[in-house]
């Protein structure tokens, strides 16, 4: 993780990811009645409407499903360009596809990737940490 040793890493949204001694963790929800995970956590399963939601830490590994490169900074984003953006199918069952930044050499459809943090300016312009996946 790349952050200044003098500043505690600040998640870009504490409801979406956690940073602790284990590194970065994506926070999800699990509905036993619908048998599905989702991300970010919601009080209602976004796929079935069930409200028996339990918090769940999502797997830190997965496989690239789709990927592209963003070459023009979108509105509200003040980090570096270009950067990779894609969808990763997280390991484990049932399946969950997550929108994510991607970085590193060798990103391609079907490649195994792992979670890490990436520093970007937050909405207030101060450094914050979001998630990315890399081969």
């Amino acid at each position: 993780m790349c952050h200044s040793p003098h500043v505690a890493p600040r998640p870009i949204d504490p409801a979406v990811l956690r940073i602790d001694d284990d590194g970065i963790t994506l926070l999800g929800g699990w509905s036993p009645s619908s048998g599905l995970r989702h991300f970010p956590p919601s009080p209602v399963c976004p796929f079935t409407g069930a409200d028996d939601i339990e918090p769940v830490d999502l797997p830190r590994t997965g496989t690239v499903w789709l990927h592209t490169t963003v070459t023009v900074a979108p509105p509200g984003y003040s980090g570096a360009v270009p950067y990779g953006l894609g969808i990763v199918e997280l390991d484990g069952d049932p399946g969950l596809r997550v929108v994510t930044r991607l970085r590193g050499e060798g990103v391609a459809r079907g490649v195994a990737v792992a979670l890490s943090g990436e520093e970007v300016p937050g909405p207030d312009g101060e450094p914050s940490v979001t998630w990315t996946f890399h081969p």
């Binding site: 970010p40 789709l66 592209t68 979108p74 509105p75 984003y77 049932p94 399946g95 997550v98 979001t130």
Partner: protein, 374 residues
């Protein structure tokens, strides 16, 4: 949706118009539609205005500029389908017997560049997770991977639509392009290049609907929204599940509209469909039932979707030629189809067209399909 007729249409060209306001463009389109219908603004019993960025009471500003206050004015927002949603509500108000004559219009004045949407949380923007062209590109990647279609097919869609746009005086881009030029244009998000993406811009369109008289009939119209589960849905969720068994909103809306009209895809003579990017048009063809997934290659190879072909798609030049003023784009398609079905489309006329289909889809996964019959 029996008995709903379009008795007048009007359009303000789509493009960039400096200081000209969206209200002024709306006034121009509305006056043209009222004049065609042979009525005044005081003759309509209700007005429905589609706009996404027009602000509070955008439709009221247009009608008050015409001294048309008094009847109910509804401002309708449904992303890229805003004009379609307004048309659906207007048509339903006549079909139900509530009104005999209503005005439906759409206006937009978009900033240049990637569209900013209050749809997203500030942290999502800051994390770089909101660029619309990237999501279009991911959907395009999937289309190519699952159907065997190629970047060359994407380029052929652009060549077709820009070629059609040459004959449309209301389009923003009226210069034909070649496959080589498309594939040499700047890469935005692979596989999508600059010429494969439409430009958000400015414009207005209007129609008068009546419950009697002559005119092109609104035989079917349906708005369907939100597809829970697909991470590639236009509602841009951050996660999704296997969507193989889910029916996309475009297909749901098309099935409704075909059923209302008592028609099917084989009956359609001319199509105006959402070509936000070249891949979106190809996806729309299969979602509307015009071909099987992957069947797009044969249609392109045979020139079937060209004006002069078996079933032209986007004879207006599509959004790739016209640009996309969100609130006006759906009604711009309807204005085009009405002109086609009346035989008044000039150099881009589809010979003998009797059944037209208009399709839009956008934010919120709002999809609207309209079937018009001469």
């Amino acid at each position: 949706m029996s008995g709903v007729r379009i008795t007048g249409v009007g359009l303000h060209p789509f493009g960039r118009f400096g200081e000209l306001t969206g209200t002024a463009m709306g006034v121009a389109a509305v006056r043209a539609a009222l004049a065609e219908a042979g009525i005044g603004v005081g003759d309509v019993q209700a007005a429905f205005c589609g706009t996404a960025y027009g602000g509070v009471a955008a439709g009221h500003r247009v009608l008050s500029s015409l001294a048309g206050t008094g009847p109910p004015i509804y401002d309708v927002e449904a992303g890229c389908a805003s004009g379609g949603a307004a048309l659906q509500l207007g048509a339903a108000s006549i079909a139900s017997g509530q009104h005999d004559r209503v005005l439906v219009f759409g206006i937009e004045k978009m900033p240049k560049g990637i569209i900013r949407s209050s749809f997203f949380a500030p942290w999502q923007e800051a994390a770089g997770l909101t660029p619309a062209p990237a999501f279009f590109a991911l959907r395009a990647q999937r289309l190519l991977a699952e159907t065997g279609l190629t970047e060359d097919h994407l380029a052929q869609v652009v060549v077709k639509n820009r070629g059609h746009g040459v004959a449309n005086p209301d389009a923003m881009f009226r210069k034909a392009v070649t496959t080589e030029e498309v594939l040499a244009s700047r890469l935005i998000c692979e596989p999508l290049r600059l010429f494969m993406l439409c430009s958000p811009n400015e414009g207005a369109a209007a129609v008068v609907l009546e419950g009697r008289g002559d005119g092109v009939g609104v035989a079917g119209i349906s708005l369907r929204s939100h597809l829970p589960g697909s991470v590639l849905g236009e509602d841009s969720p951050l996660s999704g599940i296997d969507d193989g068994g889910l029916t996309p909103p475009t297909t749901l809306a098309a099935e409704d509209a075909y059923a209302q009209a008592g028609l099917g895809p084989a009956d359609v003579d001319v199509v105006e469909c959402q070509d936000t990017d070249a891949a979106r048009e190809l996806l729309a063809w299969s979602e509307l039932g015009l071909c099987t997934p992957g069947g797009q290659a044969g249609i392109l190879a045979d020139g079937e979707a060209l004006v002069g072909g078996r079933r032209p798609v986007n004879p207006s030049g599509g959004l790739l030629s016209k640009g996309e003023p969100l609130g006006a784009s759906a009604l711009g398609q309807v204005v085009e189809l009405v002109r086609q079905l009346r035989g008044h489309a000039g150099d881009r006329q589809v010979a003998g067209a009797r059944v037209g289909l208009a399709h839009v889809i956008g934010r919120g996964a709002n999809a609207c399909v309209t079937v018009l019959v001469a």
